[in-house]
Amino acid sequence: MTENRTLIDRMLGLEEKREWHEFEKRAKALGDDYYADYNAMKKYIWISGVEKWKDFKFIFDHVLDLLEEVAIDGRKVTSITGPDVATFLDEMVEHKGWEDKQKDKLNKIMHEK
């Protein structure tokens, strides 16, 4: 987790860091299994192409809402997301991934000329 921490330190300001820790606290409170789920999903979202903390915050908050919801009856995350968690998260971040950015870039260049 050390690598992650330095990245976060570089990316986030004081207020953002406070919010980040608030999310970590909520995630840890769910117990080890769900915390592991949170970390796995967090990692995926982190590389999803989302750029602004405001957008991360919105998504993490909803992921945690979801986890808190399943944790209460000890259900699995997949009971809500369906079997394809990655696609579910793509929908959540509205899939503005690397490919989409390349597409936007190409179209922009083609129209500028």
Binding site: H62, I80, F88, E91
Partner: protein, 105 residues
């Protein structure tokens, strides 16, 4: 009906807007309603990402209410822009379905 996920994609948001427009409701109930009218493929997660998008676009207002059993639930109602979006969805739908009927003739 099964295997209509791709075709349903653009329409589901409108369906959710309509359901919320009919009265304050929460995610699980929305899912149940969609399944009850025959959209068997819809899972809770589908509705989850849709309500999230509606929230992001300020089309809904949310109230977190605690429930007797289970976690606090998010109850959704349409905002003014949400109401407009609901109406605009039906206009688009009427247009498309009229055109498709013409095509079939």
């Amino acid at each position: 009906m099964n295997n209509i996920t791709e075709m349903l994609k653009g329409v589901l948001e409108g369906c959710v807007l309509e359901i919320i427009g009919q009265g304050e409701t929460y995610g699980y109930e929305i899912t149940q309603k969609l399944r009850a009218i025959g959209f068997d493929d819809v899972v809770e997660g589908t509705v989850y990402t849709i309500t999230m998008r509606l929230e992001k676009k300020n089309l809904v207002t949310i109230e977190k209410k605690s429930s007797t059993m289970g976690p606090p639930r998010k109850w959704y109602t349409l905002s003014t822009t949400g109401q407009q979006e609901r109406q605009s969805f039906w206009e688009k739908w009427e247009f498309i379905s009229a055109k498709l009927e013409d095509l079939k003739k």
